[in-house]
């Protein structure tokens, strides 16, 4: 697992996302949205504060913070 927030970024596993919209609705920065397939997508990576709430509340393990690679 990556270290400081600096090195982290949001990853999305579209194959697992079921499009429930939880992460989108409760993102404090409202930086997430749906793509045309009804899956989650990052709208505004710069404004993501890497709070991890999307990851915590995603029932499908489809969005998470990980190393930038």
């Amino acid at each position: 697992m990556a270290g400081s927030k600096e090195d982290l970024t949001i990853h999305i596993n579209e194959a697992w996302c079921k499009g429930c919209g939880i992460c989108i609705a409760f993102c404090p920065k409202k930086v997430l949205g749906f793509n045309e397939n009804g899956k989650v997508m990052m709208l505004d990576r710069d404004n993501c504060i890497k709070c991890g709430m999307c990851q915590m509340r995603c029932p499908d393990f489809a969005i998470f913070l990980g190393g930038k690679e």
Binding site: M1, H11, N13, A15, W16, K18, G19, C20, G21, I22, I24, A25, F26, M53, Q55, M56, R57, C58, P59, D60, F61, A62, F64, G66, G67, E69
Partner: protein, 271 residues
């Protein structure tokens, strides 16, 4: 890159899981894994036991010693696992139906014995797996397929029931309040003795649809708006508490633990 929690604590090849879009069960399952991670438990020494139900499918995804038993009986199986090998950290996952309907007796007896099992109740107030019948936690007047005119039963307060039965740790949290959930589950696992965390989940497919609770997000928002931590509630004026549900730790005390007590009998003969 893979989700680190999944990579480390789950059986990745079983994903995506069978739960419906927006089902709260996945949120709670993740929280259990984070608590285990936080506590640094040895995966080989963790045993997850469940009964039957949507929630009870969780163990199949979790990379520990996992046991998917018969409906309602998880705690009874778990009691055998724990007593036979107290070195195992035994965590029980059970739906509200599984735990408090058919499994109610095992719940109260496990609590009474104060055996060191951690029970996480995935409470979605409905029988999800069988298609939306009312459960012992369905609120009065709400509907289920077997309560077409509204449920006339009074629901269990599971956390309170466990206390009445003698539980030494009992808490409630919700699928919205994940940071709190993480902490409570961690505390429950750490607790020496029987512990229960009632985690309020959501079942958009049956409970939500049948009771016109709106979207998944609406249901999560409802959790957000209607639960108050006990500690916070203590300080709130009455009108702010009106109609709200309490969450947080309701009891956390230390009493002799069952497998410890049994070990003492054995010791007695070893002397």
């Amino acid at each position: 890159m893979n989700h680190p929690l999944v990579e480390n604590y789950f059986r990745m090849d079983k994903f995506p899981h069978i739960w419906c879009p927006g089902c709260g069960h996945g949120i709670i399952m993740a929280s259990i894994a984070r608590a285990i991670e936080k506590l640094g438990l040895d995966k080989d020494k963790v045993c997850i036991v469940s009964g039957i139900g949507c929630s009870s499918r969780a163990p199949g995804y979790m990379d520990f010693n996992t046991l998917h038993t018969t409906h309602g009986r998880a705690l009874a199986f778990a009691t055998g696992v724990k007593l036979a090998n107290p070195d195992l950290e035994v965590i029980v996952i059970a739906g509200d139906g599984d735990l408090s309907a058919i499994g109610g007796n095992h719940l109260i007896h496990s609590a009474r014995r104060n055996i060191n099992l951690t029970t996480i109740c995935f409470n979605n107030n409905i029988y999800g797996m069988t298609g939306g019948q009312y459960s012992p936690t369905t609120p009065t007047n709400e509907k289920g397929t077997t309560a077409p005119y509204g449920n006339i039963d009074k629901p269990f307060d599971i956390a309170k029931l466990a206390i009445g039965a003698g539980a030494t740790y009992s808490a409630r949290t919700t699928a919205y309040h994940v940071p709190q959930m993480d902490k409570l589950i961690e505390a429950a696992i750490k607790h020496k003795g029987f512990s229960l965390v009632e985690a309020i989940s959501i079942c958009p497919t049956y409970y939500g649809r049948k009771n016109k609770k709106g979207s998944v997000v609406d249901m999560m928002t409802w959790l957000k708006d209607n639960f108050v931590d006990v500690k916070v509630a203590e300080k709130l004026p009455q009108e702010k508490k009106e109609g709200k549900f309490l969450m947080g730790e309701f009891i956390n005390i230390i009493e002799p633990e069952y497998t410890d007590q049994y070990a003492k009998i054995i010791e007695h003969f070893n002397k």
